[in-house]
């Protein structure tokens, strides 16, 4: 049932302040908001940071390869209790642990970024421009001009799908009605991905200026920023930027919403549900958020990086931006972690190869065997694809995708069944549980991999491709559609790793 209670959106914030899901806390939040107790409880129990607050150790693939198990032993020996949790978005400084306030307590060396250059659209090392010239240009030349620049820039949505950004903008622009919303999707949580974290920390004004341009363009007043709960620092940078640029932003209301520990809330309709104070379960599409989004109103939602590109798209022109790319328009923030010398975020022409990306990161460590081009959802590719352009259109041709461009390199010391198993654990931990293909399928796949790893009998994997097919066909959202890809692609590209019979398994 569509219920748009004015106070419902507050329940997650109140619950986090309560610090637990005890009966007393639930009752207080229910009384404060008028939301039934059961609803408060069910919503609370969806979110990991509410259910399991406290110190956490990342068990994402990059951290596991860098020594999660050793870190866990170290913490246990020191008498520190902690939860092992899904990727914390710190793969460039793996392995990591956070304390209860989400501050890094244990990590490797700090990740690298691209050096300052005027030929980069976002330029992480560059200086911020507090004059918001792109917003001024937009106000001067009008929404139609902005839309034209956006179209000629060829900018593709940087959240993962890679659809031309102007499609969405125009779809919301043509919706009638007095109320529309803009949302910044800063719930970055794809394993291997940490670009938005750097962008928010280093160039928050690019993001805020982009949001203001978007709101101006679609005629919206209210702007929501949904920032991953495990990223308090980047969230704080954004809040500071809003204060610093207040003189340019008088006609907009900014709303900061902090996530509560659920990867699925990066899916745009789940994110909307979460802002509305509900369990983060994706909605059926159609209708799309551009038609019926936040509180049922037309909503424009863009990824942090998409919004951050607007500054240079408008200041230097759509054609300039388009010309930056190699196979597709623009420069792109590529994350790289795993077995490379200098993990980090590198802004490179869209369409560079893995070799070019790894070159920016100082080269490979050991003998590379496999890589994920765009996070766990993109599965694994053999290193023989190292020359292929890492772009939105090309990678789907070989059953993968660029996604969030969170590349992870794996060398030949790693057992691919083990790697596939851990990527699948991630999806099993993060599936919302709403639809059967994803909820049951991903658990089936993880257990099949576990059984194979335990006894080496490959017949455990007999039905895996059928189950993966159904997950792709039958799931409601993208999580379920791709959750079996790590296992399926590992089996496809590394069959030798899945045919042991009775042989001892080893881990990475």
């Amino acid at each position: 049932m569509q219920q748009y209670s004015a106070t419902r959106g507050q329940i997650l914030k109140l619950l986090e302040a309560e610090g637990d899901t005890s009966q007393e806390s639930i009752k207080r939040v229910s009384e404060a908001t008028g939301v039934p107790e059961a609803d408060v409880y069910g919503t609370a129990r969806f979110y990991d940071l509410i259910v399991r607050p406290g110190p956490r150790v990342c068990q994402g693939l990059s951290c596991l390869m860098a020594g999660t198990e050793e870190l866990c032993e170290e913490l246990t020996d020191a008498g520190i209790s902690f939860h092992r949790v899904s990727c914390l978005g710190q793969c460039d400084r793996a392995p990591v642990a956070l304390d209860g306030q989400m501050t890094l307590t244990h990590c490797g060396p700090k990740g690298g970024i691209s050096p300052d250059s005027s030929e980069l659209a976002m330029n992480l090392a560059g200086a911020e421009d507090l004059n918001y010239p792109a917003l001024a240009l937009a106000r001067k030349n009008g929404a139609e001009w902005v839309a034209e620049q956006l179209e000629s820039s060829g900018l593709q949505g940087r959240g993962g799908a890679g659809f031309p950004a102007h499609f969405k903008w125009n779809a919301v622009r043509k919706e009638s009605g007095p109320t529309k919303y803009v949302i910044c999707n800063a719930d970055e949580a794809e394993p291997g991905t940490f670009k938005d974290r750097e962008l928010m920390s280093r160039r928050p004004h690019l993001v805020i200026e982009g949001l203001a341009i978007a709101a101006f363009c679609i005629d919206a007043t209210d702007i929501y920023l949904y920032v991953r709960g495990e990223f308090p620092g980047p969230g704080h940078s954004l809040e500071q930027a809003i204060k610093e640029a207040a003189q340019h932003l008088g006609d907009f209301n900014f709303h900061m919403v902090h996530g509560h520990g659920a990867y699925i809330c990066g899916e745009e309709t789940a994110l909307i549900e979460s802002i509305e104070g509900k369990r983060g379960m994706p909605r059926l599409k159609p209708p799309y958020p551009t038609q019926e989004g936040l509180f049922g109103k037309p909503t424009l939602m863009n990824n942090v990086e998409t919004l951050a590109c607007l500054h240079s798209v408008l200041c230097r022109g759509g054609d300039w931006f388009a010309g930056l790319g190699k196979t597709e328009p623009g420069t792109k923030l590529y994350c790289i972690s795993g077995h490379v010398q200098s993990p980090g975020v590198y802004e490179l022409p869209l369409g560079v190869s893995l070799d070019e990306l790894v070159q920016a990161a100082g080269g490979y460590v050991g003998n590379p065997m496999a890589f994920s081009p765009g996070g766990a959802s993109s599965g694994f590719l053999p290193i023989s694809e190292r020359d292929r352009p890492l772009d939105f259109r090309g990678l789907p041709e070989i059953g993968s995708m660029l996604g969030s461009a969170g590349a992870v390199v794996i060398n030949d010391t790693v057992d691919m069944a083990w790697a596939a198993r851990w990527q699948t654990v991630f999806f099993e931990d993060e599936t919302c549980g709403q639809c059967a293909p994803c909820r049951i399928g991903v658990r089936y796949v993880r257990r099949a991999l576990d059984q194979f790893i335990e006894d080496g009998d490959s017949s455990h994997l007999d039905h895996l491709n059928d189950v993966a097919w159904e997950m792709a066909e039958g799931s409601i959202c993208g999580l379920g559609m791709t959750a079996a890809l790590p296992a399926r692609s590992a089996m496809q590209h590394f069959p030798q790793g899945f045919s042991r019979d009775g042989e001892e398994s080893h881990d990475g």
Partner: protein, 358 residues
């Protein structure tokens, strides 16, 4: 004249057959009217479509993904396939997954269990190992009428949506996430300690037998005769079906939603309080207390005459306004009318009242 969008009529094609429909209808609405079977589990016509069980997915020309028939609204000239090879393959693997998640073997059919019937319709399923999902039950559930077995639950959320959308009681909710997702109350308290009114609508709408009535468990396998009747606990006139085996009422079930005034909804009394029917203490004939102080069986004529004589005696001795007539909240409107008529016309007093009026 321009057509109003409310009555916009057009054709779609379902499995090669042209069908007329109206804007606002779903594919499932049109298929049902045509008699074309599309399997559903999370669908209940009283609820907003959830599209969560995925059993009604169909193929639509021009749509990259399979779409849920229960939620997808028709538009002119849609070309829909509900029995294509892709849809059949989807159903078969989906049902295989459900059975891997479901605690009961395919051969067992629970009362009201749509799931296993549907799974059997799909032909031989994939032999998937059980996934052993860690769904929790309420540890101290002690309500007198029904049980929840999480191992049989498929999380279609019909029960929680019914409790919210139809009853607006919100006693139960989806809780946890992923494979641990379960049906919970606030803090996993017993239903007796929540806003639950024990209406049992959740049990009635459950398609798998995860929610089960306690009483008729022994008679699970029988196919009872259903006798449609009107609930006599109050004047609303809810229709219900007495489930009868060997002339004994073993259970009350809801008529199909959309077919009766009460839309299949019942309250705790109508659904669960039927023990009196065969109770040994039930009066089956009128009784008159004799001069010996004991109750004696009588005919209706004797009983009515005795009551009438007593009332007339009071009227004669103390006047008509010394009498008062109160009718039960279980009476219908017609019965209440008769009661006030009796008070006013036969006894001559306006002292009449209906206990539900306060």
């Amino acid at each position: 004249m321009e057509k109003s969008p409310m009555t916009d009529k057009f054709d779609i094609t379902l499995n090669g057959i042209r069908l007329q429909c109206e804007s606002g209808e779903t594919i499932l609405d049109v298929a049902k009217r045509d008699g074309t079977y599309i399997p559903t589990l999370c669908h209940d016509p009283r609820l907003d479509p959830a599209g969560a069980c995925r059993s009604c997915l169909v193929e639509i020309d021009g749509q990259r993904r399979l779409q849920p028939a229960c939620a997808f609204k028709v538009t002119p000239d849609l070309n829909i396939h509900s029995e294509s090879a892709r849809v059949r393959k989807h159903r078969k693997i989906l049902m295989s997954l459900y059975m891997a998640d479901h605690g009961a073997p395919l051969e067992t059919e629970h009362n009201g269990d749509q799931l296993t019937r549907m799974a059997r319709d799909c032909g031989p399923l994939l032999a998937l190992n059980p996934v052993e999902a860690p769904r929790a039950a309420r540890p101290a559930e002690d309500n007198p009428y029904f049980t929840f077995d999480p191992s049989l639950c498929i999380l279609c959320a019909r029960c929680t949506r019914y409790c919210d959308e139809v009853e607006a009681v919100n006693a139960i909710t989806l809780s946890e996430r992923g494979a641990s997702t379960t049906i919970a109350t606030a803090g996993q308290r017993t239903l007796m300690d929540t806003s639950c009114e024990l209406c049992g609508g959740c049990v009635d709408t459950c398609p798998t037998g995860a929610l089960m009535e306690k009483k008729p468990a022994k008679l699970n396998q029988v196919n009872p005769r259903k006798v449609r009747t009107t609930c006599n606990y109050c004047g609303v006139g809810c229709q219900m079906d007495l489930n009868v085996v060997d002339d004994k009422v073993i259970k009350v079930s809801s008529p199909e939603p959309g077919t009766t005034l009460n839309d299949g909804n019942l309250c705790v009394k109508g659904r669960f309080a039927y023990d009196f029917i065969h109770h040994q203490d039930r009066l089956t004939s009128p009784m008159i207390r004799g001069t010996d102080g004991q109750l004696h069986e009588a005919t209706w004529a004797e009983a009515i005459e005795t009551a009438a004589r007593g009332l007339l005696d009071v009227k004669e001795r103390h006047g008509a306004d010394s009498l008062g007539f109160i009718s039960s909240s279980r009476c219908t409107g017609e019965e209440n009318y008769m009661m006030q008529k009796l008070a006013r016309a036969a006894f001559g007093t306006n002292n009449c009242h209906q206990c539900a009026a306060t």
